[in-house]
Subunit: 228 residues, 2 copies
């Protein structure tokens, strides 16, 4: 663990920044918790013990990120439960609307859904102080736990090429629901939205960010053998 | 980690013992994996974020035990997937028949179901070599992650005394289903049954063991404010 200097550009006593920071960590923590629990539940759909274990490992890595983040928050005097509360409804809505109907949908959701969420959180990490950024980056650590998904989905597409269309649509739906919930959050959470728009970024930069998110989403879909 | 001397009374080259050992570790590992995934899925039923987090913590403590156990197995040259395979059906049957219909049932299942399972595994640990026993004991480490359940259930019983009867019945059903699956496993897995019956234990001792399991089950039910 390297020693991180305290924030300089954005002092912790700036109330607006403090509110935004609480939102950033709250959305990330709650997103990780919910993703972890949904992936664990979706492991039920796995056809083999090996795949069930791999999905459980992915869920557990996500829970570890949640756990580390909430520890960081407590250290910063931020109550995790309070910080997560505003995001309970949008995440519940997202997961309710994207309940996988089979194992392949669960795999694509884990790969694509988590991918876009993590890309978004990485973008947010560009707007926070250095100490927070380090904690966020650790939670978002690019691990290869999800990589087991790529060959499994690709093999399924070879076995049954008709699934390409169905899963491509599914990937688009996941992205659409994610963006729709992100927008609902932005409308509700002024501090969070101002961090992006009012801070160093302006509306053009926000547009650029969404373009980057879509681009990386396309790359992930292509890696799975799907079109976006 | 203390240095454990290699097994003396039960040499690792004894094929029958090796078979039994594989079964003991397989049943424990698969039990932990399934319990972890079911508890994570049941966290969906939690009425508050604090309770959801507590249940998730319990689930992932269980996954940690699974993960440590499978590492131990690999170190001993035992393939975890193969060792777990014979227990997939009985555990799936148990969890299918004991799907909680609400949050209180999920809590009682987590507390009582895990309790009796861990008691049983602790009994099994009395029949294995010392190195295995140490690994099993670590996985069964009496943690207090489940203790949050006691006040929550007790508070619910005060609020609605009619739930006492319903949850007491539920606890009995959990115990009944667990024993029924344990019996099915004993019939199928000769090596495992012989470890208990043919080894240092005889049938009387097995009877004593089940009496102890029932007794501790009663204690746990009482702690929750339920009758067994």
């Amino acid at each position: 663990m390297t020693d991180v200097p305290p924030a300089t550009t954005r002092p912790a006593d700036d109330a607006a920044y403090r509110g935004a920071l609480t939102d950033v960590l709250g959305v990330l923590a709650h997103g990780s918790l919910m993703a972890s629990l949904r992936m664990a539940a979706d492991a039920d759909l796995a056809p083999t013990l090996g795949l069930k274990t791999a999905m459980a490992q992915l869920a557990f890595a996500e829970f570890k990120a949640f756990s580390d983040l909430t520890n960081h928050m407590r250290g910063e005097g931020i109550d995790p439960q309070q910080a997560m509360a505003p995001f309970v409804v949008p995440f519940a809505a997202f997961h309710e609307r994207t309940r996988p109907s089979d194992w392949l949908e669960a795999l694509v959701k884990a790969y694509v859904g988590e991918g876009v969420a993590k890309d978004f959180y990485r973008e947010l990490a560009g707007f926070v102080d250095e100490r927070t950024m380090v904690a966020m980056t650790a939670a978002l650590d690019e691990s290869d736990e999800a990589e087991f998904i790529v060959p499994v989905v690709r093999a399924a597409l070879v076995t049954d090429p008709r699934t390409v269309g169905r899963l491509s649509l599914w990937g688009r739906r996941l992205m659409g629901e994610a963006l729709s919930q992100a927008q609902a959050v932005a409308v509700e959470r002024d501090a969070l939205a101002n961090l992006l728009v009012g801070g160093e970024a302006d509306l053009t930069q926000v547009g650029d960010m969404f373009a980057r998110l879509r681009e990386r989403h396309q790359e992930r879909m292509n890696r799975l053998g799907l079109s976006s």
